[in-house]
Symmetry: C5
Subunit: 152 residues, 5 copies
């Protein structure tokens, strides 16, 4: 089984490298990487990865701060949705918004944590979906501390 990893030259963090590090740490799955200029190039890259033999993909995007960037983010999201529904495979969307933190150190911390957690999610979806079911409703967060469940 193989995981596709798509990332961008626009990103200020080498998101693909972090994803590959985490993947190697937790599994012996093969991977294929595809780097494109920006987020609106990611869905077709992901589609090529999935049609080229990957069983799941991780899309690593970096989004600017303006209203126009948010529209590009919406387009990315709809594109990844179409890719999933037409290939029948999961694509984990990992997006970092540049305004999530006001300094580079925090942004790096959020990005690294989010990527690592979502790589684990992708591996679980592929190899161990029952593990996700056990965590249903537990307020998992990626990039920030988990918020935990609201118990009845």
């Amino acid at each position: 089984m193989k995981i596709g990893i798509a990332d961008t030259t626009f990103s200020r963090i080498d998101m693909g490298k972090i994803a590959i590090e985490e993947l190697r740490k937790i599994s012996s799955l093969k991977y294929e990487r595809y780097t494109v200029p920006g987020i609106k190039d990611l869905p077709i890259a992901v589609k090529k990865l999935l049609e080229g033999g990957c069983d799941i993909a991780i899309s690593l995007g970096w989004v600017g701060k303006t209203q126009k960037d948010l529209l590009s983010y919406l387009t990315l999201s709809i594109g990844l949705m179409i890719v999933q529904l037409s290939t029948g495979k999961h694509v984990i969307d990992v997006t970092i918004h540049e305004d999530e933190a006001d300094n580079e150190k925090d942004l790096l911390m959020i990005a690294e944590n989010r990527i690592r957690e979502h790589v684990r999610n992708a591996v679980d979806l592929l190899l161990n979906p029952k593990k996700l079911q056990k965590m249903a409703g537990t307020g998992q967060r990626q990039g920030y501390p988990d918020v935990g469940p609201i118990l009845r």
Copy 2:
């Protein structure tokens, strides 16, 4: 006949568990559950459930408070729309927005009520569609008290 139930680890409430409880209380229908990380993973999970033999599905999503979260909600909605139109089956979208209440107790009450009512809607759509027709235009609400009809 079988009902698909898709939920998330992002949710702070075990929405899938509540849906299953309600389903068992009101019917003897079989169900299949699929848990994913977040709301943008729900449409492909729902599609897999429907193509795997479920006759209807319930999508259980939990949405954050920011403008970005609203765009993810729009993407989820469009994804579930495409799934319904390509499979020819109903998907009941049950979404909880974190800002619907300002405390956890109320949020839990809204969520539990909304899930239970929509499980009943799904069962009626499948087994008893004429019952919904009798309630047409009666101001049904899920998660809040019904508002009732405006009579002529």
Copy 3:
């Protein structure tokens, strides 16, 4: 020939009933009715009606006041668009927004007028399309008084 009529239990007005009344008053066309919980369930209901033999459909939706409701309205609209383009048949979208009036009496008047006018539009599209062409550019409104043409 047959007209499909889809409506909701969420609506505070029995929109389907008004549509059927108007249809019976102006024609002897057959109809089929399909009631669903809310607006995001309408497109798949309409699709089932059209694929089940209806030649045109009327979608009767009721939308709340919040920004989230507007996103659901956008999803409904895109869904009805996809249904039309994939079936090759017209779907008249009749939507009432709860904030179109500040009291129930006015809301009822707008809804009743809009539904009746659009039932006539649907019948004309089906049986008498040249009549619509004669009214091109005349500022027709549904739910409010016509505004009339701007003459050259």
Copy 4:
């Protein structure tokens, strides 16, 4: 060759008539007209025109002033996009927004100018595409005076 012209009864200006006038003035192309109630009915009308033998189409829409109207405009635009990509033919979208001018005289002038210029664009796309290439980057506007190029 034949041009499809779709317009609405909602419009306050007989946009279809102006388009036909201009078309007759500049060419001897045949045309087919299809009038629908409002803008969300235009994409399916345009699709029927194109599948019925038209080689290109002009969509003539009139949009109200509210935020809801803008969402309908977005739905119209996405619908026309899907029609173009599924038929492989151009559809020129001519939209007048009611708030483009604050009096009827100016609105009429903008509409008439925009329609006439876009009819010429449609004819050029069909018969003389090299003419458009010569005007690339020259700041053409439809409905307002051209703004001209920014020269290097």
Copy 5:
């Protein structure tokens, strides 16, 4: 191999000409140009280029300043997304927003730089994809100075 270049008469800068200049400077690839009136005409033009033998395309759009223009930009983006996913080929979206600068000189500089950099991206995607992978996460910008990586 061949590159498709689509541009508009709406643009105030001859974007297609700049793209062709850059392409000739850095490669001996063939190209085909397609000029349309405005941004909502670009996706079908790009689709025709790709289906007519181009291996990749560059879409050169110019967007006005209003909220309506942003909706057209979103429609353009979704259209280019659908074109990519249905043809299986990359389309580089080069968009200039008229409000990116407050004078014509700066706007020209941004446009020229963005076009040239994206032509190089397109050529790399086609001939040398490993080069993009080496630049992953380095904060590349098109139209503005690169912002550089955030290093761990």
